[in-house]
Symmetry: C2
Subunit: 238 residues, 2 copies
């Protein structure tokens, strides 16, 4: 019987350890335990292997995390379809980005924390955004400004929305936030006080659950339209 070249594994064995399996297992660990609790010993246990075996396939922990983020956002950028309106393209991109994050909310803090690993020089992503903005008529420094605004907006909202609550004293913290909200002084903070029921758990800083439990769907839809309106403004500038 011919064996696959690089596999010593028999049918009964687990598949050989590969970089891809390491990253997949790391993502599973993070999904289950959160990014803070992620460590190499648990990862190795999941893979049925000694902790140090991982180092044959990957240089260090940071590299694993970078790969995990890259995996989650692989193929977020839709193909540019000929004749598609740039607004529709951006709407699609924003929805897909959020959908990806939603599937793996525990990855959010990793995205927020570092410059790299965010969208690791994914030229297809970059070209997708630039192509849309270019079709919108932006050139030169306005193209750059539009691009930076789109990336900041794309990442900023969703990272905030899905970043996890502090796992330790979750219970305690939830009621602490609620307590504070009920104690708002209408004299000092009138608009807040007047809109409390609308804002409670539906607005940044004023919520006690993250996007997995209390998604900000309506706000996000509005946000995307605001971003587009902002770009329209940019392109109508003299």
């Amino acid at each position: 019987m011919a064996k696959p070249r690089s596999a010593r594994s028999t049918a009964a064995d687990k598949p050989a350890l590969t970089r891809e399996r390491v990253v997949a297992a790391a993502l599973a660990e993070i999904d289950e335990r959160g990014a803070d609790a992620f460590n190499l010993r648990n990862l190795a246990e999941r893979l049925g292997v000694y902790p140090t075996a991982v180092y044959w396939h990957v240089p260090n922990k940071t590299a694993i995390l970078a790969e995990v983020v890259a995996t989650v956002f692989r193929d977020v950028a839709p193909r540019r379809r000929g004749g598609e309106d740039w607004r529709d393209y951006l709407r699609k991109l924003f929805q897909r980005y959020r959908a990806s994050m939603r599937r793996h909310p525990n990855v959010a803090p990793l995205v927020g924390a570092h410059l790299v690993g965010n969208l690791r020089i994914d030229f297809d992503f970059v070209e997708g955004v630039l192509g849309a903005l270019s079709e919108a008529g932006l050139t030169g420094t306005r193209l750059v400004a539009g691009y930076n605004a789109v990336v900041a907006a794309l990442i900023g909202f969703v990272v905030q929305e899905f970043s996890p609550i502090p796992a330790s004293d979750a219970q305690e913290w939830q009621s602490a936030v609620q307590q504070r909200l009920l104690a708002v002084d209408p004299q000092a903070h009138p608009v807040l006080a007047a809109n409390l029921p609308l804002l409670a758990n539906r607005a940044f800083v004023l919520r006690w659950q993250n996007g997995s439990e209390a998604p900000l769907d309506a706000s996000y839809r509005s946000f995307v339209e605001q971003v587009i309106a902002g770009l329209e403004h940019l392109r109508e500038q003299t």
Copy 2:
């Protein structure tokens, strides 16, 4: 001679350890070494004290980091001045937020990473934003949507801009990014290729320095105006 109540310290002593001194020293450590490298032993050394002494004043490391972030953004929210246009208020807020982050760029990953600690239920901040949007004519769900958009935009851009490059292989990574940019295929990524000089090191994902070394001033100014235009759009909706 009457001594201050809680101080056993004589003139020659260091001032007694307090929660405030712990937090101030922690911020100094983070400014110098970065958030990743921050640890309690270095912190204690800076304070001239045993590592475990810190635990008398603060429950754990996470609490210290939360206080550090709160300190950096203390008083970001300007006072609402009577008769001030809501647009000017928001412009001021955005500028002040970025200025605060710029003074302590190493704090950026801490802000990005967690839901809490961001703006720890600072009602003055919340009321400032809500007041401005309310003056812009937003009410109900549109007020909520506008508020969430402002917070996401405010934090999103600046965290991205100032989040640090991976400290380990900085040198190597810089030239790796530059290499990749020079190898852009104009066939596959035409808009990127055509605008490379404008984008290189001046746009997210396409830069090799962070905001401390290569600030995105022009893009940020444009971004703020785009956010305001987005809010105008929101308020003119039916």
